[in-house]
Symmetry: C2
Subunit: 358 residues, 2 copies
């Protein structure tokens, strides 16, 4: 049976949830999927780095409170995250990047991904920064080194949005995408419909764990802007930069506007969209829209997210599901590893075909 050795870069909620999956379900996953998973390195800004090329014992790490982890006292541990050294030099098959998203230049995640691909290691990530800002360059770098770069979790956590477009729409032309891709703003709009004002609705979203301490990126649309960029570039083959994407959030919508629309059967939603024009160019934008009730995104409520694909032969197909959550996002990483496994074994076959062995 194949086995993939993982290097986890960042040990916050998502990679910790992935480690839990490996620890709790590794055997049953191996039986189902045909490959085993082992964690050989972990780095974290606060906890330091931990390396064991025979496989890290995850039990004590998962038993500790997240804030209390300190790798320095453990065999193979260090207070220094040593990211570049771990990524480049510790033998691993897949580097799993789950540090924080930096929308300005994607760093340090962008460097983490580059180092891994240059070292001939597959990468999977949930980090929007490197994918949105350098997705095409990183895919080219991966191809050059014969490895995969996977990022299902960068849009709608583990809900299979990118992979639906990549693997289930063969023979279709996708002419546009639009989605509700931020749970906080969607929850807030729903609560405003119900009579709560904006600051109170944001406070509720924070209490429920949907919104960050600083909800600006959620409320002003910047989080959705990165996801639209990823969809436009990945699904429509565009090459957009952030400044190409008009972005308006929900802070300027008044409660009166929301409730007035609701009384007419319209629902305000923060919609990110990208459309291919006749000349092949792609326009993308983020803006609040008052959607009629029959619109496929009108019924997407609360923290649920959704992406609609507009296609030539099938019309509109919509995938909805969780947009966030640590387990849900960790599942995205697992689905990436499954895709790497499938592509890697297919590649072996293609080489054989090209060398006339089959």
């Amino acid at each position: 049976m194949s086995r993939y050795d993982l290097a986890l870069i960042g040990f916050g909620g998502v990679n910790r949830a992935l480690a839990e999956l490996v620890f709790q379900r590794g055997d049953s996953l191996a039986e189902e999927l045909g490959f085993a998973l082992r964690v050989v390195a972990i780095t974290d800004l606060r906890a330091g780095s931990l390396v064991d090329t025979d496989g890290i014992d995850l039990a004590p790490l998962l038993a500790a409170e997240p804030g209390e982890l300190d790798f320095a006292g453990l065999p193979g541990g260090s207070t220094d995250p040593r990211n570049e050294w771990v990524i480049r030099h510790v033998p691993s098959d897949v580097v799993v990047e789950a540090t924080f998203t930096n929308p300005a230049d994607g760093e340090p995640a962008l460097s983490h991904v580059r180092w891994a691909l240059e070292s001939g290691k597959h990468v999977c990530t949930t980090n929007k920064g490197p994918v949105a800002l350098a997705g095409q360059a990183l895919k080219a770098l991966a191809a050059e080194h014969g490895v995969s770069f996977e990022f299902e979790g960068s849009v709608l956590s583990g809900t299979p949005v990118l992979r639906t477009a990549q693997s289930l729409f063969g023979g279709l032309e996708i002419t546009g995408v639009e989605g509700i891709m931020n749970g906080t703003s969607n929850y807030v709009l729903g609560r405003i419909e119900e009579g709560v004002d904006l600051p109170a609705a944001i406070a509720e979203a924070q209490e429920l764990g949907y919104a960050e301490a600083d909800p600006t990126a959620d409320i002003e649309g910047h989080d959705v802007q990165l996801k639209v960029m990823i969809l436009a570039n990945e699904v429509l083959g565009a090459d957009l930069r952030r400044e190409d994407i008009f972005c308006e959030g929900i802070s300027t919508i008044t409660p009166d506007e929301v409730r007035d629309a609701a009384s007419k059967g319209l629902r305000w939603k923060l919609v990110g969209s990208a459309t291919r024009n006749e000349d092949g160019s792609v326009d993308a934008r983020v803006a609040p829209l008052a959607l009629p009730s029959h619109h496929p995104l009108a019924g997407i409520s609360g923290p649920v997210n959704a992406v609609s694909f507009h296609t030539d032969l099938l019309g509109t197909v919509t995938v909805s599901g969780p947009g966030a959550g640590r387990i849900e996002t960790a599942y995205a990483l697992l689905s990436d590893i499954i895709a790497i496994h499938q592509r890697h074994t297919s590649a072996t076959r293609r080489v054989l075909q090209e060398t006339h062995l089959v």
Copy 2:
């Protein structure tokens, strides 16, 4: 480049739309997908049969009005559909079954599928009958003969419902499915909400082409019952018969009930569902339900259909899209052929691995 020779069984709307795709887009599909398609045989209850092992010239067939087709006067043509002979003895790679659905015993489609699989030919079908009544047996027969049996179009036309569960949910446990799987009844319920009575709403659905001349199977839930059977057996690994699935349609719901619910924010929907119990058994049913507005199926309106998957790691993921339509259903067949191509080439690889050539 690979090429697949197709035998089309039934030449109604769906297989005719598939022939149009092959005729109009064959070259661009081949470039994208890496395989060519050729139609070598067509059979039809009214038009007879037509065989040309060098590839049938589709242009004159597609130029004729559907009702006027008569294969008897053409070279290789006959007034007799000769289904068994064509399926068993005309050399083809894929038999595409798209005759009418018979919910009682699945015939004659069930025999068509059996003959093809026994002859070592792949089968794809949009026909609910054989899949619902004998899906597991036919899959076993296909495996025995080293071929594939694909049926994405038996549920929600080309909307990738079965294939999402089969290929994008690796590592997940699916605990239940529920869906709106009949466009006619969903359209009718929506119109009743808007004040139209049941007979008038059915007449409208017929005019719009959603409902059959005899709308009983749509309105009484029998169509959904077959689809629930397919989902329960295929996605949850059940082995249910039709009589195991409670079935209530929408004819007993009164307009007052629908509008009263709507005034409270509830929407009546005809829901088909299947749930895995603690002991591994599966319960399935079809019944109208008044759904709260935050339910993932509440916003599915008009002829749009949807299926929600309840999972352990991802919570609920919903796929919505067209539930019918000739092009949309023909696309399901194309997606089946793509899956056959991918599986067939993967199988070649596995054989090589097992014989230690890789």
